[in-house]
Each structure stands twice: as structure tokens, then as C-alpha cells.
Symmetry: C2
Subunit: 266 residues, 2 copies
């Protein structure tokens, strides 16, 4: 039995709203043309609402409506935001995840801002793997960094895979992407980088705050001309030998060291 106010769920794959959703879900950079991202699942939707964002529309299957009503009742979701109801089957087809998703939001992506000066920042130089990029956004948010600058050639920050790996960090950070390295001069904070050969040991180094950590391509590392702009290079102790670290692992260690330095009063 449906209540008198519940509309019939959309069941057709050819519905224009469903076709638009499918495009956004399947094409990781479609948001750059459309200005809208698909934010999937209860956890991510709650993360964006908690940060004060409002979606253009909420998409829900009948099983997701209870969440949507809770968001409306608590005032997190504005009453004027439309709710599109889809059948469970259609919702399941839409999702690339193995476990069923019952709810998602269509969210306008803020237009690319200029780089902010004087703010703790993470700079991504051509990182390729969406899981790495998402993990780094998460670490950046956790450790008090407020801005992430993705240089041209880096994976699309708002792609579905990066969004999932970011676990909501997107909504608490200023994100600047597809910019030229010349913008680094606008950061107005010391640039830090890791090196395998030079610099102080990270666990003994005095780290400036605010700062900007420079993280490079999974295989090639940071471009040499950017590396040359670093005010300080540090080394991560690796007693196990010549192994190199995954870039998101190295990032976590560096960003945590900055947070710990702030905690200790530098």
C-alpha cells in the first residue's frame, strides 16, 4: 500500500531523468560538462548535508525514503529540494556498487575557484589512481588542511570513484582542479616535498604551518621543475630497504606529521 501522497516510482530506463543519472554515474568526468555530480549512498549524502550543502535533487528508491524523510524532518535537507522516486530495480541498475544503494543526491559542483593564499594546502601533481586521490582528500580533511589543488593531468576530483574513496571529505575542503603549476606562486605558504635522498628525516624535521605538501604521480613522482620550488624536502625513514611507499600512504604520514607539529606548538 502506498500512501496517497507518495508518487509512483519511475520504472523506465528511458526516462530522461534516469538517462541523465546514468550518464553522470558512468562517465567520471561528465560533471565537468554538466556541473552536477552524483553522490551515492546514505553516508556520502549525510556528509554533504552535514556540511550545509543542498542537492539539486534527491534520488531515492522506496527503501531509501525513510532516510530522506529523516533529513527533511531534521532540517538538513531543505523542503524545496525535489525527491525523485525510482523503483528498486532501476536504482540497482544505476549503481556500480555491489551492495544495493537506495538513495543518492544530484549536487551542483562549485565552480572552480582561484587558489586561496595562506591556507594549509595539498597539491596533487598528476596523480592517476582515484583510490589514492580519494584517500588523500580524506587525510587532508582529517589533518586540518583546508584546500586541495589538483594540477592539470590529475584524476578528476569529483569523479564517482574519487567521491566514494573520499568518504565525504570533498564537502569540507576547497577544491581547485585542472590548474597550471604557475598557480603555486599564489599559495603564499612554504611548499614541502618528500625525497628519497635529501633533507631531514620527517620524524625529526621542524615543519612550518601553514604549508603546502606537494604529492606527485604514482610512478614518476613530482615533476622536477616543481620539486625545485620546494622550500623544504624531507625523507621518510624506511628501514626495510629500498621499498617505495604508495603515494597515499606517504601523504598520510606527511599530513599527520604536520598536524602533530601544530599540536606540539611547532
Amino acid at each position: 500500500m502506498t500512501s496517497p501522497r507518495a508518487p509512483e516510482p519511475i520504472a523506465s530506463r528511458d526516462n530522461p531523468r534516469v538517462k541523465r543519472l546514468r550518464r553522470l554515474v558512468q562517465d567520471g568526468s561528465a560533471y565537468r560538462r554538466e556541473g552536477i555530480v552524483w553522490v551515492e549512498g546514505d553516508h556520502l549524502c549525510r556528509a554533504l548535508l552535514a556540511r550545509g550543502w543542498q542537492p539539486e535533487a534527491v534520488v531515492s528508491s522506496p527503501a531509501g525514503l525513510a532516510w530522506v524523510q529523516t533529513w527533511q524532518q531534521t532540517g538538513a535537507l531543505a523542503p524545496e529540494v525535489p525527491v525523485w522516486l525510482l523503483t528498486e530495480a532501476l536504482m540497482a541498475q544505476l549503481s556500480p556498487l555491489e551492495s544495493a544503494t537506495h538513495v543518492g543526491c544530484l549536487v551542483p559542483v562549485p565552480p572552480n575557484q582561484a587558489v586561496q593564499a595562506g591556507v594549509p594546502t595539498v597539491v596533487l601533481d598528476r596523480l592517476q589512481d582515484p583510490g589514492n586521490v580519494g584517500s588523500i582528500l580524506r587525510s587532508a580533511a582529517a589533518f586540518g588542511f583546508r584546500q586541495v589543488v589538483a594540477l592539470r593531468g590529475t584524476a578528476a576530483l569529483w569523479s564517482p570513484k574519487v567521491l566514494r574513496a573520499g568518504m565525504g571529505a570533498h564537502f569540507g575542503l576547497a577544491l581547485v582542479e585542472a590548474v597550471d603549476a604557475s598557480c603555486l606562486a599564489d599559495l603564499q605558504v612554504p611548499l614541502l616535498a618528500t625525497s628519497s635522498h635529501h633533507g631531514d628525516w620527517l620524524h625529526e624535521a621542524r615543519l612550518p604551518w601553514p604549508c603546502a605538501w606537494l604529492l606527485g604521480h604514482e610512478g614518476q613522482g613530482v615533476r622536477p621543475d616543481l620539486m625545485a620550488q620546494a622550500a623544504q624536502t624531507v625523507r621518510i625513514i624506511q628501514p626495510g630497504g629500498e621499498e617505495s611507499l604508495n603515494v597515499a600512504a606517504a601523504a598520510a604520514i606527511c599530513l599527520h606529521a604536520s598536524a602533530a607539529a601544530v599540536f606540539r606548538g611547532l
Copy 2:
């Protein structure tokens, strides 16, 4: 023109060797039945040879033969190891990677050993994501841990995805997998775990060495009954707020802290 000694490359998808290869590449846990893993690409093959491992066979396309000859000439690859030559087309079909692979090795997996006592160890409690598991193996090897114990329910350590993410760390670690949590008593080193609520700040904590770090499921964390066995729990400072870290990021921070403590003389 092929030289008189170069055999004709195998070109048929139905060749028994090719069929066996395909099974190993496509099924992440096939090695558990067959006792053999497919190690793909120049980097991983060099990593295993550098650690003194010998494959059962090398598989190469014509474009990969120069590498194989180098390994033979330097003595890294034993002369009696057979080399199977496949056409470039067949090799390309075999690989799940976007970029072409020209060489790989079939490597016998060492039989599951018992847990070693007194050794710096990382314990994985039901981690699911192969990228996370591989990244943690890499951090473990880099930071001087010698053993990784994957409790039952953790992703298969030798699956192709974990192997790729591990970047060769597999060949320098003692790996024990699919074991019951009762084996933790055999480690004979203090168990450490992170908590969001309890314990010293990691960056101020005194950490024992050797030790075993306990890392838990991406969503649920460490099982409560294992958590209760931890000799010490530490907290990772997160000034950005309630964000949680990716488990491989948290692992990198913890394992690095242990390495730094050893470096400082505890």
C-alpha cells in the same frame, strides 16, 4: 627474421598453457587451488628475482625477451627456468591492465607457514579492498615489519590486484593467511591498535618493538574481541574533525611511527 634458436610464439587462445594462465589471471583466488601465482610486468618480476625467488616459468612476448635475457645474463634468473613465448596479441589479451605487458612469471606460492613468534608483524582483520591490502604490505616492508598475518575473511594476499598494489613487497615478507584469530597468541609480541576515543596520542606514545599492529575491516574496524587483546591503544590526532582515515593511510602512519621509534632508540 627470427634467429634460429627463437621458438615460434604461441598464438592460440586454446593452448593449454594459455588457458592455465588465463585462469590464474582472472580468478583472484585460483592460486589457492593451484599453488601458483601470475606475477605481471617487469617491475614485479625484477622484485621477486632480486629477493632470490625463482619462477616455475617466465612468460614473454617477443618485446619482453630483452628483459628475460638480461635477467639470465646477470644470473638473477636461473638458466633452467623455461621461457614461454607468446605473441604480443595473446599477451595483451591476458593482461587486465590498460598498458601492454610484455613479460610475467609463474611463481610457486610458498605453503602457508605457521605464525612466527617475536617478529614485527602486521595483522589484518577482514580487510576487503585489494588496493588497501597491497598498500599495507608495501608500508610493512618499508618500515621494517617482517610478517603479515591475514586473518580469515581478509582479501586473498596473492591475488593479482593485491600483488600489483604491493609493488614487490610480497617477496620480502613472511605472509600467513586465512588463519584463525587464535594464532595471535603465538605472536609473542605486544598487540597495538588505534582507537578514536582511547589511549595516548600516537605522535607522543612510547611504542614497543617488536610489536604487532592490528588493522581492521574498512567499515567495521577491528573486531571487539581482538581489540580487547591489544596491549596498547593509541589515537591518531585529527584536528580536521570527525573524519575517519582510510585504513591503509592509518596503517602507514602507525607503521612509520614504529620505525621512527626504533630509529630514536625507543
